[in-house]
């Protein structure tokens, strides 16, 4: 029974990683860049939701919508101001810029909100029992897993069925050819950042519901873990980000429960290294085949 309980909380944690990893992976797939500021967009989303709930006294749903709006706007603005001018620059310049944006956001938050930790209001607390009390499941885990599944399903439909989604796939394969189809590649990249950042806001709230402290560097660790999850599953692949996130959450939770809390990160990265040794493109990553 304990195993089942760890599994559910691992899937809950993994779902949050998956939602963040989707943002990393989609941006990488389309813009071919690692947006290391993605974690800090989570932080911005957490602050937005925090102030909406505490200072303005809004209900959770409204705060979530505000947080999504703030993150979407922030993501699109960052892309327009920092990344778009570097569209034809080397990937190293873009990477360094992304790291710079990450520090900029953290420091801006410190300047605006102070570096002290703020306590996020308790949301989605409580749990229910199954098997006549033998298994206790938190509402939060269930809600998180359900939200993650809905997002995953929605994104898959969007990418495969809508015109914009098909244009996104075309851009991810060959931007030059996509332009010749009349696709506005800059607009598609903006949409991708908007979606990824909106998802970051959802992740922010789920994260703060689990660990209720809000501070300027709050996005770093989940950001790095989710990036790992995206690589684990195969960066650029949407199902890969989903699978990678879930696995990472479960491995982390199991390692903490059965092996050692201190070693859990080391174990997670050891698994990543082994996976990448066997499958360098990640679990579901596309093999890069070049046809001549």
């Amino acid at each position: 029974m304990a195993f089942l309980s760890y599994l559910i909380s691992g899937l809950g944690l993994g779902s949050v990683y998956a939602i963040i990893a989707l943002g990393y992976s989609m941006v990488y797939g389309i813009a071919k860049m690692l947006n290391f500021a993605h974690g800090d967009i989570i932080m911005a989303g957490a602050f937005a939701a925090f102030f909406a709930m505490t200072a303005a006294g809004m209900p959770l749903i409204v705060a979530a919508l505000i947080s999504m709006a703030v993150c979407t706007l922030l993501g699109v603005t960052i892309e327009r101001l920092a990344y778009k001018p570097l569209r034809n620059a080397s990937s190293l310049s873009v990477l360094i810029t992304a790291i710079g944006v990450s520090y900029f956001l953290q420091n801006a938050a410190q300047l605006l909100f102070g570096s002290d930790t703020k306590i996020f209001p308790a949301v989605l607390s409580g749990s229910f029992s199954l098997f006549s009390g033998a298994l206790s499941v938190s509402y939060l885990s269930v809600v998180t897993i359900v939200i993650c599944l809905v997002i995953m399903g929605g994104l898959t439909l969007f990418i495969n069925k809508t015109k914009t989604g098909k244009a996104m796939r075309a851009c991810s394969e060959d931007k030059g050819a996509a332009v010749l189809m009349g696709i506005n590649v800059n607009r598609i990249i903006s949409i991708t950042f908007a979606i990824g950042s909106g998802l970051a806001a959802i992740a922010a709230i789920l994260l703060c519901a689990t660990y209720p402290s809000v501070y300027p560097t709050l996005g770093s660790m989940p950001g790095i873990r989710a990036f790992t999850a995206a690589v684990f599953g195969g960066i650029g692949s949407i199902p890969g980000a989903f699978l990678g996130g879930l696995l990472l959450g479960v491995i982390e939770t199991m390692a903490k429960a059965y092996i050692s809390t201190q070693l859990s990160d080391a174990i997670v990265f050891a698994v990543l290294i082994i996976v990448l040794l066997i499958r360098p493109t990640g679990l579901l990553g596309r093999k890069v085949s070049v046809k001549v």
Binding site: A167, A170, E173, A177, L180, M181, G182, N184, V185, R286
Partner: protein, 234 residues
């Protein structure tokens, strides 16, 4: 239809296109022949807006499109079949064709054009649910052409459609180019296969290291001593 005026294109310090001018009239097939590195692809990419010229201008139906964004040029009636086909390998044949009609909103028109493409290329209809990456080279070329036709272009630019294809397929592709032209689409064709290109072209230009050195009707150039020596193997 299409007019190129005093075009100069540079890659950094290197001048790839050194002041060329040419035009394509309504309903014509015009070909630009030349050796590797003569600047054929550069010219094509500048016309479709992917490259910006250092000076000079490109006019489409009298409108200056030199500074228009490339994705907008498509909706103005100019489609390009790029060098190396560049089909979307991970999408199906059908999805590739739909992407060709990306800017269009006229559902019935799109359906009619899809039917027309399948009549021109029956092979594509047989394989419409297949991923484009699994097609043979010839089929991919047909898909790239069909995809460009889906944009309902007034003028179609084709960059090396015969590249890497067997002689039999090359003949087939050129027969289809002539058909597309007969249906009313103006064609600007870039080719290394000068013999085939001159065979179907109304007019032709010879491009040598960024300059136009000869021009004339297809038959004239095919008969010219200079062209025969340089491009037709004596």
């Amino acid at each position: 239809m299409l007019k190129v005026e005093n075009l100069v294109v540079r890659y950094g310090m290197i001048e790839a296109i050194k002041n060329i001018s040419f035009e394509v009239n309504d309903g014509e097939i015009v070909t630009l022949i030349g050796a590797n590195g003569a600047g054929k692809t550069t010219t094509m990419q500048t016309i479709s807006g992917l490259l910006k010229p250092a000076s000079g201008a490109v006019y489409l139906d009298g409108t200056d499109i030199t500074k228009v964004a490339p994705h907008k040029i498509v909706s103005m009636g100019l489609a390009q079949v790029p060098e190396g086909r560049r089909v979307f390998a991970q999408q199906t044949v059908m999805e590739n064709l739909e992407l060709g009609a990306y800017y269009r909103k006229d559902k019935e028109g799109i359906e009619a054009d899809m039917k027309n493409v399948f009549e021109l290329f029956p092979r594509l209809e047989e394989r419409k649910a297949q991923l484009a990456g699994t097609l043979s080279g010839g089929e991919q070329q047909m898909l790239a052409m069909g995809r460009a036709l889906m944009a309902k272009p007034k003028i179609m630019l084709m960059d090396e459609p015969s590249m890497g294809l067997s002689p039999l397929l090359v003949k087939e592709i050129f027969r289809i180019i002539r058909n597309i032209n007969k249906q009313g689409t103006t064609v600007l064709l870039v080719e290394q296969n000068a013999k085939m290109a001159l065979g179907i072209a109304d007019r032709a230009y010879v491009l040598e290291t960024g300059k136009i050195t000869l021009e004339g009707t297809g038959t004239e150039l095919a008969a010219s001593e200079q062209v025969r020596k340089a491009y037709l193997g004596g």
